[in-house]
């Protein structure tokens, strides 16, 4: 078959799959411009654009239901989500990479047994771990603090496992060459292994950052004070006993994810170019 035609067909398939993926986002973007009465309709467009929803969330104009400005701080929520996710991601990538290095490039007795134990802890359903985990946090005095939001998420078997899988594929010859050059394990780790694991690290960073930016259950129990609210917890403000202001949730969510999409576009480019750069360096 003609090569150009083949490429055209690829695009064609991807387009229709892509449409199904983009649909919820379109609907949400449309809903964020609807008045409350139209939220339930499946139609993508509001009968009359209602950009007030954004202004209400950003406290530029009062909420028509109460005639008062909403009692919330969207920029602070955004900062908190970003702050927590950035710390968690950096710590997790660093500690996971170090542990993965020990589990893949270093030889020691009982290595794989210890690793299986590590993995094992991921298999205990998180539902039962919630209460004991929380009690540990109470003992450590970390409830209702930024540290309480960051630390428990920063050390994961998931990241260690992922990066180990990337590290074990690298040829042994790198280590041997480094050893002949007299490099210390730290130099081997920083200058050889880390750059070569770049796609894995970028993937882990994307997953961790987005996952923690939007995580709900843990911050819900950790946060008591308003100033610590992250975006998902902040969104609870739009749910009251007397119904929820879905249109405001949608406006807030759109504002929440548009910067994230931009970040994703930047990050995923690193995913592709990984090996070429790594190849040059290594």
């Amino acid at each position: 078959m003609n090569r150009e035609l083949k490429i055209f067909l690829k695009h064609f398939c991807l387009l229709f799959l892509g449409l199904s993926m983009i649909f919820p986002f379109l609907w949400m973007a449309g809903a964020s411009f609807k008045p409350n009465a139209e939220i339930e309709h499946l139609s993508l467009l509001p009968s009359e654009a209602h950009p007030d929803n954004y202004a209400i969330v950003l406290r530029q104009i009062p909420d028509p239901h109460t005639g008062q400005k909403l009692n919330l701080d969207f920029p602070k929520w955004y900062f908190n989500s970003f702050f927590v996710a950035a710390w968690v991601t950096s710590l997790q990538v660093l500690t996971s990479a170090m542990a993965a290095f020990a589990f893949s490039r270093l030889e020691w007795r009982g290595r794989d047994t210890v690793f299986l134990l590590y993995l094992g802890t991921m298999m205990v359903p998180s539902v039962v771990l919630m209460l004991p985990n929380y009690q540990v946090m109470v003992k450590l005095g970390l409830v209702n603090t930024y540290r309480g939001l960051i630390l428990p998420m920063a050390f994961s078997a998931f990241g260690t496992f992922l990066l180990r899988q990337f590290m074990i594929t690298l040829p042994r010859s790198y280590d041997e060459a480094a050893e002949i050059d007299g490099a210390t394990p730290l130099q081997l780790f920083l200058d050889v292994i880390l750059p070569l694991t770049r796609p894995g690290i970028v993937a882990l960073a994307i997953l961790t950052f987005l996952g923690n930016f939007q995580s709900f259950t843990w911050p819900l129990v950790m946060v008591k004070d308003d100033y610590l609210r992250t975006i998902p917890i902040g969104l609870l403000s739009f749910q009251t006993d007397y119904g929820q202001q879905t249109e405001l949730i949608m406006a807030a969510t759109v504002m929440n994810i548009v910067p994230l999409i931009a970040l994703f576009i930047v990050m995923q480019r690193q995913l592709v170019s990984g090996i070429q750069l790594g190849g040059v360096k290594g």
């Binding site: 986002f25 993508l44 500690t95 020990a102 298999m123 540990v136 428990p152 496992f161 992922l162």
Partner: protein, 366 residues
């Protein structure tokens, strides 16, 4: 260097291990101990060691088997979710650019113009929603032709950004048996061929595609058809093929030295042969990772959907083990029993993982 090895290992492990011990191992050990007690949220009930009582109760608990069946049933979607992601990853990693820049420009402009014109026509004809859809398709096409895989990757990852409440609310709406878009679409396609088709009951129905399985009478198998379990599986596949698995596969593909493929191409290997002999074996560690993680997530899965979409219903057909643990621990206040269920689940996952592990080791993934 060899002599200092234990110290080096210790130093590299220490940061992760320290956090891991405090924040993971301690709670894990507590629930393990708890599963042998009458651990309860009721303070009036003094904590007592009850031996294997929770476990023997579990063996006779028919709800446990039903919910285990539900969990396993929902996991049937995993191969599709993983395979779909792999297929997409290979497609997106490959070359999506036309050989001639002229063709690329042509395709870009053509898709922009055609979609803009037809969207405008639809808009003025009064079907505004269809116009939006066509415009979105056109925009995506234009970006896709111009930017290549970046546009698609971002698009496919979108369901993960809108994750949580918004997606769940929208799907519930789409699945509405009477006014939902899916059943309306089915009816319209049927109407086109002159047949009156009634769509499935989706989230309202206890039917399932394996509903004909012989099963004791207490199990509400609902008969053959498409029901709530299929609805949840479909939604899961939709969210998974473009999500984290795709990212991981893409990372794995980037890790394959391009020289390998180039050499094979020079030797005249076709696309399938290159996939079979280069991509697939080189990707094995990533695939292995995804399979294990999906197994773990699958056996613990279905919680959010049960909590937010179905309450575990209709008639318990979408209650999975993790939701059952929640019900036991928090609604029946019986954490000891919840922990026992959790540890039974652990045994299952661990067994399956160990099995995979040995297979992975044999296939050279380890």
């Amino acid at each position: 260097m060899k002599r200092r090895q234990p110290l080096v290992v210790g130093l590299f492990l220490a940061p992760n291990l320290a956090g891991f011990l405090v924040f993971t191992l301690v709670p894990v050990a507590l629930t393990f101990a708890g599963s042998f007690t009458n651990w309860s949220l009721r303070p009036a009930l003094p904590l007592e060691f009850v031996g294997l009582q929770n476990y023997s109760r579990l063996i006779h608990d028919r709800s446990f088997y039903l919910y285990l069946y539900n969990t396993a049933y929902l996991m049937l979607a995993l191969p599709l979710a993983i395979g779909g992601a792999l297929f997409l990853a290979v497609l997106l990693h490959g070359n999506l650019n036309f050989r001639h820049a002229r063709n690329r420009a042509r395709a870009t402009w053509a898709s922009a113009l055609v979609s803009a014109l037809s969207a405008a026509a639809l808009w003025f004809a009064g079907s505004e929603n269809l116009a939006c859809v066509v415009a979105a398709l056109g925009a995506l096409g234009t970006l896709g032709f111009a930017l290549g895989s970046t546009a698609y990757r971002t698009t496919f990852y979108l369901p993960n950004f809108t994750a949580g409440a918004a997606t769940i609310l929208l799907w519930t709406q789409l699945y509405n048996p009477n006014v939902g878009l899916i059943n309306q679409g089915i009816a319209r396609v049927g109407g086109f061929f002159g047949v009156a088709v009634t769509g499935p009951g989706w989230l309202t129905s206890t039917r399932s595609l394996l509903g004909f399985l012989p099963w004791p009478e207490w199990f509400n198998n609902g008969g053959f058809g498409v029901g709530a379990r299929e609805a949840i599986m479909l939604m899961g596949i939709w969210a998974a093929i473009g999500g984290n698995n795709l990212i991981l596969f893409l990372a794995g593909l980037s890790n394959i030295p391009p020289e390998l493929n180039e050499a094979a191409e020079i030797d005249g290997a076709g696309g399938w042969q290159r996939f079979r002999h280069i991509t697939w074996p080189q990707l094995a560690p990533t695939t292995f990772f995804i399979v294990i993680i999906s197994l773990i997530a699958g056996l613990q899965g279905g919680f959010e959907q049960a909590r937010m979409m179905t309450n575990g219903g209709p008639a318990g057909t979408t209650t999975t083990l993790s939701y059952y643990i929640y019900l036991q621990g928090f609604e029946r206040l019986d954490l000891g029993y919840g922990s026992a269920v959790a540890w039974m689940l652990f045994l299952l996952v661990f067994g399956l993982t160990a099995l995979q592990w040995r297979r992975g080791a044999r296939d050279g993934a380890d």
